[in-house]
C-alpha cells in the first residue's frame, strides 16, 4: 500500500538523519574520548585517509575511472605547501590554499592528456605521474631537499603535542565535511547524473549530448584539489617530508582500497573504508613494525575486494538486509508478447477512430 511505503521511506530518512547526527557527535567528541596522545594521532591519520579516499572517489566513484596516481597529488600538495612556507616565506594556511590551487591548475594539462581517451590511458598516466614526480623530487635535491627531507615549521608553534593533534583532528574533520558536502551536492545534481552516465556507458553518454571530456576534467580537478588540500594539511601537521613517502604508489593504493572497500557509489563509502583500513594499518604497524608484509597484506586485501566485493562492503551488507525486508518491490512484471499484441491492437483501433 502506498501509505505504508511512504511512511517506511520517512522512517528510513529520519533514521538516516539521526545516525548522521550521532556520527557527527562521535567525531566531535573523539579527541575528548581518546585515552592518550598516540590514539589521538591515529585519529588524525585516519581522518587524513578519510579525506584522501573521499577526494579520490570524486573521480573513481562518479566517472568510474580508476586513478592509481593520487599519491602524486597528495605529495604535490604536501611539498607545495612546504616549499611555499620554507622558500617563499608564506604563512602556513595561505601556503596551503595556494599550493592546492597550483596543483589544480597543473592538473588541467595533465587531464587533457589523460582524459581525452578512455580508462586504460588514464590509469597509465596516473601511474606515470607518481613515478615521474618521485624522480623529479628525489633528483632536484637542491630545491626540494631530496632524500634528506624537508622540514616544515608547525603553524601553531606553542601548542603541546596532544593539543597539536587535537587541532589538526578538527581541521581534517572540517575538510572531510566540506568534501562530503561537495560529493553529496554533485551526487544529486544534474551534473552528477551526467557523470554517472559516463561511468555506465561513455559512448552512450556522448550520444545523449553529454560533453564527456569536460565533465571528466572538472571532476579530476576537483578531486585533485581536495587531495592536495589533504596533502598540505598533512605537511602542516607532520612537519617532515620525504619524497619516497610522499610520492608513494602505496598511498595511492591505500586510497583506492579504502574507497573500493567502503563502496565507491556511496557518499560514506570511502570514509568507512578509511576507518577499517586505517585502523588496521596502524594496528599492524604497532604489532609487527614496518615490514614488507604490509605490501603483501594490502595486495591480498585489494585483490580480494576486487574479486569478491567490487561494489564494497555497504552494498554487500545492503543485500543482506534487503533479504530480510521483503521482496514485494523487487519483482518485475514482464510484459508478455500477448499483452503487447493486445495493447497494439487497442492502439491501432484508437488510431483508426482518429
Amino acid at each position: 500500500m502506498p501509505r505504508d511505503s511512504d511512511s517506511r521511506r520517512r522512517l528510513g530518512r529520519n533514521l538516516r538523519l539521526a545516525s548522521l547526527l550521532a556520527c557527527a557527535g562521535l567525531v566531535l567528541s573523539f579527541p575528548g574520548l581518546a585515552p592518550n596522545p598516540y590514539i589521538l594521532s591515529v585519529g588524525v591519520i585516519v581522518a587524513n585517509y578519510a579525506v584522501l579516499s573521499t577526494a579520490w572517489n570524486f573521480v573513481g566513484g562518479f566517472t568510474g575511472y580508476i586513478s592509481l596516481g593520487h599519491g602524486a597529488l597528495f605529495g604535490l600538495g604536501a611539498y607545495g605547501t612546504g616549499l611555499l612556507i620554507t622558500k617563499a616565506g608564506l604563512p602556513s594556511f595561505v601556503a596551503l590554499f595556494i599550493a592546492a590551487a597550483l596543483v589544480a591548475l597543473l592538473m588541467v594539462p595533465v587531464g587533457f592528456a589523460a582524459l581525452r581517451v578512455r580508462g586504460a590511458s588514464f590509469v597509465i598516466v596516473s601511474i606515470a605521474l607518481v613515478l615521474i614526480l618521485l624522480l623529479v623530487f628525489q633528483s632536484w635535491a637542491s630545491f626540494t631537499g631530496g632524500s634528506r627531507g624537508l622540514v616544515i615549521p608547525r603553524p601553531f608553534a606553542d601548542l603541546t603535542r596532544p593539543e597539536h593533534h587535537r587541532v589538526f583532528f578538527f581541521l581534517f574533520a572540517g575538510l572531510l565535511a566540506v568534501a562530503l558536502l561537495t560529493w553529496w551536492l554533485v551526487d544529486r545534481s544534474r551534473f552528477g547524473m551526467g557523470l554517472k552516465a559516463i561511468r555506465e556507458d561513455e559512448d552512450k553518454a556522448q550520444a545523449l549530448g553529454i560533453p564527456t571530456f569536460t565533465y571528466k576534467l572538472i571532476m579530476f580537478v576537483v578531486s585533485a584539489t581536495f587531495t592536495a588540500l589533504g596533502g598540505g594539511l598533512y605537511a602542516l601537521w607532520f612537519g617532515d617530508l620525504d619524497p619516497v613517502f610522499q610520492f608513494s604508489i602505496l598511498t595511492g593504493a591505500y586510497m583506492v582500497l579504502m574507497a573500493l572497500l567502503g563502496g565507491v557509489r556511496h557518499l560514506f563509502g570511502p570514509l568507512l573504508g578509511a576507518l577499517i583500513v586505517g585502523c588496521a594499518l596502524e594496528y599492524f604497524k604497532l604489532e609487527y613494525g614496518d615490514t614488507p608484509l604490509h605490501l603483501v597484506a594490502t595486495g591480498l586485501l585489494l585483490g580480494m575486494v576486487v574479486l569478491f566485493m567490487p561494489d564494497g562492503v555497504i552494498p554487500a551488507l545492503a543485500n543482506l538486509s534487503a533479504r530480510f525486508s521483503g521482496p514485494a518491490e523487487r519483482s518485475i512484471r514482464d510484459v508478455t508478447a500477448a499483452e503487447l499484441l493486445e495493447s497494439n491492437r487497442r492502439e491501432a483501433e484508437q488510431q483508426e477512430v482518429r
Binding site: 544529486r188 544534474r190 552528477g192 547524473m193 556507458d201 552512450k204 556522448q206 550520444a207 545523449l208 497494439n344
Partner: protein, 253 residues
Amino acid sequence: MAARTERQAGMHGLETVELTKSFGGVTALDTATVAFQHGKVNALIGPNGSGKTTFFNCVTGMIKPDSGRATYRGFDITGKAPHTIARAGIGRSFQLCRVFPRMTVLDNLLAAVRPGSLKAQLTSSRSREEMERARGWLKRMGIDHLERAEARNLSWGQQKLLELAGVMMGEPETILLDEPAGGVNPALIGRIVTLVRQLNDEGRTFLIVEHNMDLVMSLSDHVVVFDRGRPIAEGPPSMIKSDRRVLEAYLGV
C-alpha cells in the same frame, strides 16, 4: 500535423557530400553523397559490408571520415564530437541496444536531460517537471511500471523501448535508429512501428538502418540503398522494390 511535415519537406535535413572512410586497405565509404528527406521516415538499406554502419558512425560522430562533408540543416557536422551532434538535434540508438545498466529506468531518462544553465547543472536532477516528462515517455513506450527497476534487469525488448525513450528525452528533431527490429519479437516490432509513425506525424524525421524488408517497406517514405560504400539507388519503397540495381546488389547477380 501534415502541414508541418509539408513545410519541412522543402528544408535540408541530414546530408552528406562525398563522404569517404577507409580502414587500412578497405574502403568502407566511397564518396557517398546523399540527402535524406527532412520530415519523412528515411530508410538506409544495403547488403552486409555495404558501408551502412560506417556511414551511420561517421554521421553520428563515432568515427572521423577521411574526407567529405556531412551537414545537418546546413550546419556542418563533419568530424564533430558525438555530443555536439546530439546537441544539434540528432538522436541515435545503438545496434546492440545500449542503456545504462546499473541505473534505474527512470534515471536512464533523467540522464538524458540537457541542463541549460550552470544553475541547472548544479541543482537536483530530480525536478518534478523532468520526472513527469520522463514518466510520460515511459508510459508512451509502455514500460512505466518498470520505473524503479535497474535497466540491466529488463528484457531485451524492454531495453530497446527504454533506449528509445531515453533518446526522445533529449527532444531530438531527427532520430537515427540502428536496426531497431534486431532480435525483437513481432509484437514488439509492431509497437515500434506505431511509435515511429506517431513521432513522425508529430514532426520528427527518422533515418532507419534496417535489414528487415517488411519493416522498411511498410514504414518508410524514402529509401536509400547502399552498396560498396555508396548509394546506388533512392526513392519510394515501391520503386526500390523493383529496381534492378538493388536486386543485383543484394543477390550479387
